[in-house]
Amino acid sequence: MNEIEKIGNQTLSPLGRVGEGLLSIKNLKAEIEGKKILNGINLEVKAGEVHAIMGPNGAGKSTLSAVLAGRADYDVTEGSVTLDGKDLLDMSAEDRAREGVFLAFQYPIEIPGVSTTNFLKTAVNEKRKYQGLEPMEATDFLKLMRQKMEFVEMDKSLTSRSLNEGFSGGEKKRNEIFQMAMLEPKLSILDETDSGLDIDALRLVSEGVNKLRNKDNAYIVITHYQRLLDYIVPDFVHVLYKGRIVKSGDASLAKELELKGYDWIKAEVEANAKII
């Protein structure tokens, strides 16, 4: 299905697939220091789906991921976001994570002195505590870690070091995917995961994500370029411009953008604005 549908303010399910509703964003508006960045986002994500969000620089892509993950710098001025029917915006960043939101950072930071193992043990057990479960036994935890490391092809030596300290760009991104594997989120947001990666690293990271994809989880893949979507093939592609989703389609939309750039979409939006 190559036809591109233009969607206004109504919630969308362009390909008519039916899954379980997981994330629901309605008319989301957000600003930072009085500057309006998101101007009414609507998005429905069902379990098992991968949604790509593309758009030119400054469209609000990273703001959307930050607002969903609970970064405090942004003020949400209107709209709602629910995860499994629960109000996400009302939750702290840590509660969102424990409810199943995971943000793979564009620039994962280095935290010297905090070991990757200790960090993940804390994160896993905090999530279990939230779910009313007992903390994991140390040996079980180490077994799980080994298993997941193999699964995402992460070098064992990395976990004995401080979190991301001295990691290459590719290692940092792979560590994000490894954490994702450990925490088993319902909704993962990949914020420009492809930035700064060479083709081999990109392939490894993408393979990790593809292995983790299943019918119960969903992904929002934020990217400027189509390249990543060759590896992580999305069910839906949305174009974000000036803080709104101005176009949605399937994977072919990404290819069209790669070919034609973003200018035609900008022109279309401006033209529509004039008519209205």
């Binding site: 840590e94 994570a97 002195g113 905090e126």
Partner: protein, 428 residues
Amino acid sequence: MLLENIKSEYNQYKNQAEESAFFQLREKAFAEFDKSGFPTIKNEEWKYTNLKSIFDKNFKSTCVSSASVKNLLVDSLFNSIKANKLVFVNGSFNPELSSIIEKDSAIVISNLAKARKENTIVFDAHFGNYAKIENESLNAMNTALMSDGAFVYVPSNKKVENPIIIINVVDANDMNVLSQPRNLIILEKNAEACIVESYISVGVNASFINVVNEIYVNENAHLEHYKIQQQTGESYQNNYTQIFQEANTNINQVTLTLDGTMVRNNLHFYMNGKNCDTLLYGLYITEGSNHIDNHTRVDHAMPNCQSNELYKGIMKDKSTAVFNGKIMVHLDAQKTNAYQRNQNVLLDPEASINTKPQLEIFADDVKCTHGATIGQLDEEPMFYLRSRGIPEDVARKMLLNAFADDIAEKIKIPELVGLLEQLIEEKL
């Protein structure tokens, strides 16, 4: 008041003292002390540390030691660590509680009073040479009235196999205690040693401990030197350390100040030869209304030396801290590399730090940097941890521990580092 206590103690000593060069030195020191008196906040070096609360009290030198000292030692960080231990209680050497396990009899691990008689040549060659008494009235006071202290002598090409731990116990069960330990440490050419100074205390009364360390490190020698201060109760400490380095020496110095009502450290390095390499690390954690002041000074007097300093502080409640780090690059000290950083985290709105990194450079071909930061924990690491489901309070603890452990880990006694990290975690 303290001044009267000191004067009367000195007069008592003087009436019994026999004429000797040592007595002459003490006379000179007392005259110096008498002339300059205690430092006040009008003295630039003491601007942020007011000793008035000490001087308004009565203190007494005493060799009284109660049964609780033994328990204190059992509970100390060092109980299970294999080391040479020299224990001083209220400044007096306690042979029963001490243990020397070093087998090489050429290495002297002893107390100063004994060494003055048995190692006279070394003692006379070094004692009083490094810690100046002019304009340093607390050094002068120590020199005039010191009780006892550690004496370590490592001859050329010898390596002390196990760490030497100098444990200073203040027992303030019976009265306000004054003690003035004096340590003299000599590493000859190509010698190697690891020395730990420890300060612990017990008892309900106040204590004032005024320490002077003189450390001489001869060519090509390597010294690991750690200071671990954890006196509790109403405890005041002034700790002066002068380390004199000859050419090609290598020193790793770590100062951990984890407790104490008021602690003032004066840590001085003098690089008297080429190719010295000195690392200085410090961690201070203050709480309640405690006050911790670290004054460091590194004198680069000769070319091609390197110093790297990192001091970190965590201040809680209404506590205060001071960092004053001076790097002095002398005219002849070309090709000096000197780095200094001071990082502070204030955990409560009423906690405070006065920090003053200072560089004075008289040579022209040098690389020097210095800087200080004061703030709360960084937001970015905090958000990263929280975004993985770790609650804010747990995340803060993790980051604070990492910040502090970074310094504790500079100590090269693994079992001690483990214990220290536990201790730090409990404190934070």
